[in-house]
């Protein structure tokens, strides 16, 4: 009985994995075959790179890649800056109303970013950042999740290290920079992985707040490229999709272990 349930569990897990990966596999299959071969699952058909050539010429992909790359970098730098300072304040400093403010920050976790789209749009426009990469990234910089993660990580640093640094002549920011930040390196790496993958894939907000190819990230560019009015060619769209996900996919394969740990950790904390 126990053996049976073991097999059932394994079978279910494999089935789930297959269902999960099948769109990706199909896109991969379609990207390398002509449209008719792809939809007919003609296994003997020849492989081709034509779809990539057509797709590449169809949109300013290089610009999109650059935009996405800049966007995740800006967001990550902003997040590191704000979550480090805020996390440190919540972990190690005493100020009136600290717990109340911290609860306010945590409440932000309950609010879906989509709910705030209109308000954020108005704010970004008021600041004159509409249709800029900075405007796309700004609402995510003071991430509540990041602040919480940093706070937990800084809280686990032994107080003696803080005191030793104080005696050795460090100021508060010096201690943060020389003691807390280096010790929280694994947390920074985990958070960076989560943040980069989230913002690489983010679609709705950039779609709304960008208006030109100069600022459009990959996801938005891809959706415009694949929009029905441009004519639906499943192979070419698949090729474009493969191109957009490739950097993240390669990064995932390289950092597989850290990725899994990052998400696990994010779940626990």
């Amino acid at each position: 009985m126990k053996r049976l349930s073991h097999y059932v569990e394994s079978a279910a897990a494999i089935l789930l994995a297959v269902i999960w990966i099948s769109p990706l596999l199909f896109a991969f299959w379609a990207a390398f075959h002509s449209t008719s071969d792809a939809v007919n699952f003609n296994l003997m058909s020849s492989w081709t790179l034509d779809n990539f050539r057509v797709a590449w010429d169809g949109a300013p992909w290089l610009q999109y890649f650059l935009n996405t790359f800049l966007l995740v970098t800006i967001v990550l730098i902003g997040q590191f800056f704000f979550t480090t300072l805020a996390g440190f304040a919540f972990a190690k400093l005493e100020f009136p109303g600290k717990n109340f403010v911290f609860i306010l920050v945590l409440m932000q976790l309950f609010i879906l970013p989509e709910v705030l789209i209109v308000e954020n749009y108005a704010m970004v426009s008021r600041l004159g950042l509409f249709d800029t990469l900075f405007g796309v990234g700004m609402p995510y910089m003071a991430s509540a999740f990041g602040i919480f993660l940093m706070r937990q990580s800084f809280k686990s640093v032994p107080i003696e290290l803080h005191e030793a640094a104080r005696i050795e002549g460090c100021g508060l920011l010096g201690i943060l920079w020389r003691v807390y930040v280096p010790l929280a390196k694994p947390t920074y790496l985990a958070y960076a992985l989560v943040s980069v993958s989230t913002h690489w894939n983010n679609f709705l907000w950039p779609l709304i707040v960008t208006n030109s190819p100069e600022t459009r990230p990959l996801t938005v560019g891809l959706s415009i490229f694949g929009a029905p009015e441009n004519g639906v060619d499943i192979s070419i769209i698949s090729a474009a999709t493969m191109m957009s996900v490739a950097p993240l996919l390669i990064a995932f394969l390289v950092f597989q272990r850290q990725f899994v740990q990052a998400f696990l950790r994010a779940g626990i904390k």
Partner: protein, 339 residues
């Protein structure tokens, strides 16, 4: 100015709401001396050290270092170094980086930094381990890195918070000697917190014995051992500690006193010739001598030291005697009586 002590704590108090802090801490520390803050756990010795270090600020009183009022100064402005119980080495930095951490923070030029580090590593015998991380070192080596970090900047005052408590007994004895030698060679002033009286007695020029947040006695090891200020000191210093006897059970002494007597001043005599007759409750062979625990109504901690191995059956009655000049008298409140 030159007569003023190097470090002065003047009537310092620190209170936490509800919890016991320290009260009325007044203490003069001469330059170049080795002062031990001794006491049972929770007596406020670590708090006193942290007040001196600037890690806590006092609620009352003043602290002077080198004649300068540092009562409210930041820890970094007090020109002192500190060795922590847990060593507090930065786990992400190598031995070398740990040692020069403070110099780097204080922007000492690189050449000078290297020179000072080489000297500190040489003094502490850490050459060759420069690039190791603290996690790759043994407990004793970590301890030496903490020492090297404390002496590298050449601060004249060094605070140590139970630096030996994480070492095994054998290492402790040798490091104890090293620390004492280091202090003497460098001529630095050390304030050393410990709960181990052997450490305090063997290293310190001056011992500050504390209990419940108050200083019980300040004096040389000799003074604490040979003229304890009260029954707490008598019962704390020495292994075995001083026995305390109610005065009424000894003939020829008035009632209401407590009389202290050290084990080495008691001798066993044939039956009928002693001043007290006691039951043997404990026989502990220590190698070169045997410790015999005795029981008598109205007396606590009575022990006799006898050379060599001496087997006495438990429960046997023996007679003891002592010379009256070795008696210490305390009044009913436990304070030492003159004479």
């Amino acid at each position: 100015m030159s007569t003023k002590p190097f470090v002065v704590l003047d009537n310092v108090a620190k209170r936490w709401n509800g919890q016991l802090g320290v009260e009325n801490i007044s203490l003069d520390i001469e330059e170049g001396s080795f002062v031990a803050l001794l006491g049972p756990s929770g007596c406020g010795k670590s708090t006193s050290l942290r007040l001196l270090a600037g890690l806590e600020l006092p609620d009352e009183g003043k602290i002077f270092i080198e004649g300068r009022d540092v009562t409210t100064s930041a820890a970094s402005d007090r020109n002192l170094s500190m060795v922590f119980q847990s060593y507090a080495l930065f786990p992400h930095l190598s031995v070398a980086e740990n040692v020069i951490f403070g110099l780097k923070v204080r922007r000492v030029p690189k050449a000078e930094r290297m020179e000072k580090m080489a000297r500190a590593l040489e003094i502490t015998g850490l050459e060759g381990l420069e690039s190791r991380k603290p996690g790759e070192l043994s407990g004793g080596q970590r301890q030496r890195v903490a020492l090297a970090r404390a002496i590298v900047a050449g601060q004249r005052l060094c605070l140590m918070d139970e630096p030996l408590s994480n070492l095994d007994a054998k290492l402790r004895t040798s490091v104890r000697k090293d620390i004492k030698k280091l202090q003497r060679d460098l001529g630095i002033t050390v304030v050393y917190v410990t709960h181990d009286q052997t450490e305090a007695m063997s290293m310190a020029d001056k011992i500050v014995l504390m209990k419940d947040g108050r200083i019980q006695q300040i004096g040389s090891p000799n003074e604490l051992y040979n003229s304890p200020a009260n029954t707490f000191v008598a019962g704390f210093i020495g292994a075995p500690a001083m026995a305390l006897i109610e005065s009424h059970i000894l003939g020829g002494v008035e009632d209401g006193y407590k009389i202290g007597l050290r084990a080495e001043n008691i001798s066993i005599v044939p039956k009928g010739e002693g001043k007290l007759s006691c039951n043997v409750t404990e026989v502990e062979f220590l190698g070169s001598e045997t410790l015999i625990g005795l029981e008598h109504e109205g007396a606590i901690g009575l022990t006799v030291l006898q050379p060599g191995l001496l087997i006495i059956p438990l429960g046997q009655q023996i007679d003891i005697t002592f010379d009256d000049q070795h008696l210490h008298f305390f009044d009913s409140a436990g304070e030492r009586l003159p004479g």
